[in-house]
């Protein structure tokens, strides 16, 4: 234990990228868990997966276009798809989950195809691996990327806190919220934009294929023990931040892939919270 702590201290003092990874990781985990509860309750758990595949496709296009800052393309495209999925899903011929599945696999396939056809890097498998599984992405962030992450995280948190009551009402009963004068469609649109921002941020932490875990596990874990919207949200945030920090620490110490380690810690957290929930029910 002492040796592990000594090594951690050495890593944090010596390597700037470890400090960047921890800051960005904690901020991303905080944002993803804030909206996780809403997404789970609205039965949109899988939207994170679909949007992350869209973001992967957009990343491939940005790489093919040789864009130095790919977020300029990835973020607008992901926001557009989030709006289309959340707003028009019920009014089109292709309904909800089918359109999500279609966009999800379509974007993944087209993205990989573009990466192969217009590969700019000699190490294509490394690029795909890093983008899909976030094996080391969080440890290779530039200072600009960390600042961008901090700015977008602050924006997401501010939106959530400012519109907390509206998000609450839209989450539980959209029709009732609309009937009481809440502009439900506008708030759904806002949620779509915020979700897209979170997905693009979270891709850096755990990769495109594992993004949903950051959204779903903390919320579901918190729901095992707590019951009110506020307590579940607070617990979800704490759980998500702790799991991300712990995942990053274990990963840099044990040399395991960052994204997969964070998800494994989240799964462990879910199992522990499930057991805790059962104990609480009995008592």
């Amino acid at each position: 234990m002492t040796e592990a702590l000594g090594r951690l201290a050495y890593y944090f003092q010596t390597f700037e990228f470890v400090r960047y990874a921890m800051v960005a990781g904690v901020l991303i985990a905080l944002c993803s868990s804030l909206l996780g509860v809403t997404l789970v309750l609205k039965r949109f758990s899988f939207i994170g997966d679909g949007l992350s595949h869209v973001a992967f496709g957009a990343t491939a296009v940005a790489a093919a276009m040789n864009l130095t800052d790919n977020i300029l393309l990835v973020l607008p495209v992901t926001i557009l798809c989030a709006v289309l999925l959340l707003r028009t899903g019920q009014n089109t011929k292709i309904k909800g989950d089918a359109s999500l599945a279609m966009i999800s696999v379509g974007a993944l396939a087209i993205g990989y195809l573009i990466m192969n056809l217009f590969a700019k890097s000699a190490n294509l498998s490394a690029d795909v691996c890093a983008t899909l599984f976030g094996s080391t992405s969080i440890l290779t962030l530039s200072p600009t990327a960390v600042w961008l992450c901090a700015g977008l995280s602050a924006l997401v948190t501010a939106v959530f806190l400012l519109f907390y009551h509206k998000i609450f009402s839209v989450t539980f009963d959209e029709d009732f919220a609309a009937a009481t004068g809440v502009r439900a469609k506008a708030y759904n649109l806002l949620l779509a934009v915020v979700i897209a921002v979170i997905i693009v941020l979270a891709m850096n932490l755990v990769g495109a294929l594992l993004v949903s875990a950051l959204v779903v596990f903390p919320a579901l874990s918190a729901m095992r023990v707590f019951k009110s919207f506020l307590s579940v949200t607070v617990c979800s945030v704490v759980m998500s931040v702790v799991c991300a920090a712990l995942g990053i620490l274990i990963s840099i110490l044990a040399g395991t892939p960052v994204g997969a380690t964070i998800v494994a810690v989240n799964i462990s957290g879910f199992l522990i919270f499930s057991a805790a929930g059962r104990i609480l029910q009995r008592s």
Binding site: M1, E3, A4, R7, Y10, Y11, F15, F17, V18, N123, S125, A126, C129, A130, F133, S135, T136, L139, T140, V225, V242, L246, L249, I250, S251, I252, L253, A254, G255, T256, P257, V258, V265, S268, G269, I272, F273, A276, I279, L280, S283
Partner: protein
């Protein structure tokens, strides 16, 4: 009851952190000891060496990995690399090195893909108009 559970959960998380985290201390006289880092840390540090090479110029670096060699037609020379992999073993990066002394390839070099460990100073050179970086190596060993 909830407070006790939260305390238990915190202890579980700390225990998880302490588990399975071995490693060794960086060697003395070495500025960047890649052999003392875990897989993901090595990959990230080498990535930084590739993207911000000027920051590493003149630093003594210790590295280990697989030996690789390539022949470049335009210069008629062999170029030697140590390849380091990330934790997922899908991302591989090569550090070029030049071994000091008059050594002849392949007779006096390790077999290709052999695991090697080397210590060298990060240096710069120009090749056909491009600025490239390499390790000027004095010590190269093939660990048994």
């Amino acid at each position: 009851m909830k407070k006790n559970l939260l305390t238990a959960l915190t202890l579980c998380l700390i225990g998880a952190l302490a588990a399975g985290c071995g490693g060794k201390k960086p060697a003395a006289g070495i500025d960047v000891d890649l052999t003392a880092l875990s897989g993901v840390m090595v990959y990230a540090e080498v990535y930084n060496m590739m993207t911000s090479p000027e920051e590493y110029l003149g630093k003594t670096i210790k590295a280990n990995g697989s030996y690789a060699v390539t022949y470049y037609d335009k210069t008629g020379q062999y170029y030697h690399f140590v390849l380091v992999e990330d934790a997922g073993a899908c991302c591989q990066q090569g550090l070029e090195f030049r071994w000091s002394g008059e050594r002849v390839y392949p007779d006096e070099y390790p077999a290709e893909n052999a695991k090697i460990e080397l210590v060298g100073v990060y240096s710069r050179y120009e090749l056909l108009g491009d600025t490239l970086y390499y390790l000027a190596v004095d010590e190269l060993t093939v660990p048994g």
